[in-house]
Symmetry: D2
Subunit: 183 residues, 4 copies
């Protein structure tokens, strides 16, 4: 098995990126074993763990202790190696070198600083993707990428509903997936 | 005010058809003061109450006592008159005469019988609409309408998300709205 | 019949607001015969015509001659009276008095000026609604309403799919419907 | 690069499964280099080609000559090996042995026969996925899987919209992705 289901993960109370959004994010990033991947605001680490399983060298920055513990627990469960940094994303990104793929899952209100630091650190032709449930943040991120000269900018809105055991379609929240390539 | 918001209604624990689906259902039915409207499986009665406010003569059949009470409470609150029948839809429809518009909100597993009885009672050129969150039931209803010779059959899938106070888009369940005209 | 279908309208090449979005817009505005309604950037006039049929006193501003002609043709077809103004919205709004409901369908890149003029002209407790297929414009409009002190701000994302004659669900474009009440 | 974009493929006039649905289908199937994968009704072969790139041994059955040619052209372009069978799916499945993953993209009105043959050929614990834009077919497929004793049945409804160069969100058709594991 390569693509983990939501129930495979050890989960705390932190909301987790769901299977379909995780999958669409990592395939937009086209993560593989030749990549060095940075997950900014890693949360429960489901994206970081999956990226590691796909073979990437992974750095994950997460502010909350609870999140860091979950990432480490999951890394242990799936026997993958990750570099987990417990700290403030905007500050910690500087210390990470040579990443060619980046995911921004959480910005803590500092999207501008984070995009600036990610853009500094990302290798030429590197690709960055963000997930957004707040349209304002999606628009800001898209515009920051444009201003920073990113190309191949993609904005997708994905709505998934899943049939429950009674046969009802249960709607999940719509998510914007936004990506761009650094030039 | 003519179009009630969800919060306007006295609500119990029974799930209520939400504003957008209620509105799209009643405008597909094109309910007005010249109509006699039957609401089958009325639930909290939000559709029936709104139809009455729009001027229709309304019959509402509901099996659960709790639902009947909610409908009557809401009728009182909005000062509209409704004929509420506490009973089994498949049996009670026979006793209602001359309705030209009909909504099927609940079928309690008896969709076939209900469509048969509705089709008997509905006036020529009358219009019937159903709401479905279970695709199987939607397909069954659509096919029952086709078999019974209904025309102008419409099937819509509606997904609504509403921004919450934090600016997040919260997804509601997708709903199928299906209508047809008796010929 | 009160709620017109898309095919009821005389249509040109200008894109028309589709039934479900038209309905959700006019019911969010809660348009009735006691209202004075301004349609800014009326396009084909489907919203303005429907508002007139619902009994409102209607003003429609449209820049393109082709749109103005369509509105007048439709007004004739449905035998309703509308005040159609052929001109630039930002300039023409000033000349319209006493409207308590307003729809912004098109802004021609002048959303800020239009919201400013609409806010000046709209009566106290009046309600304004905009439709957006460009998220950037939706976010700008929502923020303009907030800055201008509007209350009861609602943001909805609506995705409708319609079954075609082969039984396929055909997806329409997602539309943001945004409304607020002037205080 | 592992995950092909839509524009990477040589495309004819046959409709192609789009990136997001292709990705969600292949990750639900969890395709990897240890799999033997059968694509029934392969169409343009975008799913089959991607599966081959992910390392699976691939069989693709396609009725239309035009489809077969596209698959072969794409196989050449991406330098992957596929076993392409030009024929009727219900008949050809019998001749394919030992596949543990299967995708049903087209059924040509023979869904029942195809599910029967696939179920015969699929190895124990094998996984099958179908894509449906016609709800009736989705419901039939889901029920066929249930009747045949499949487990872990999943039904997802996915709606994707993509921002165009003007910033407009363009809605794609909603697609049902249905999967189950043979027990």
């Amino acid at each position: 098995m390569k693509w983990l289901k939501d129930d495979d993960f050890i989960r705390g109370k932190i909301p987790m990126t769901k299977f379909d959004i995780r999958t669409l994010t990592l395939t937009m990033l086209d993560i593989g074993d030749e990549d060095t991947f940075l997950d900014v605001g890693a949360g429960t680490g489901s994206i970081a763990i999956q990226a590691a399983i796909l073979g990437a060298k992974v750095y994950a920055i997460e502010k909350e202790n609870q999140g860091v513990e979950l990432i480490l627990d999951n890394a242990k469960k799936f026997d993958v190696k990750l570099n987990v940094i417990n700290g403030d994303a905007a500050k910690e990104i500087k210390n990470i070198e040579g990443f060619n793929k980046c995911f921004i899952g959480g910005s803590g209100g500092k999207l501008k600083e984070i995009v600036r630091e990610v853009t500094k650190g990302l290798t030429q032709d590197g690709f960055v993707v963000g997930n957004f449930i707040i349209p304002d943040n999606m628009v800001e991120f898209k515009n920051l990428l444009k201003e920073a000269g990113y190309e191949e900018i993609e904005v997708k809105l994905v709505q998934v509903s899943v049939m429950d055991s009674l046969g009802l379609m249960k709607g999940q929240n719509p998510v914007f997936i936004v990506g761009g390539r650094k030039k």
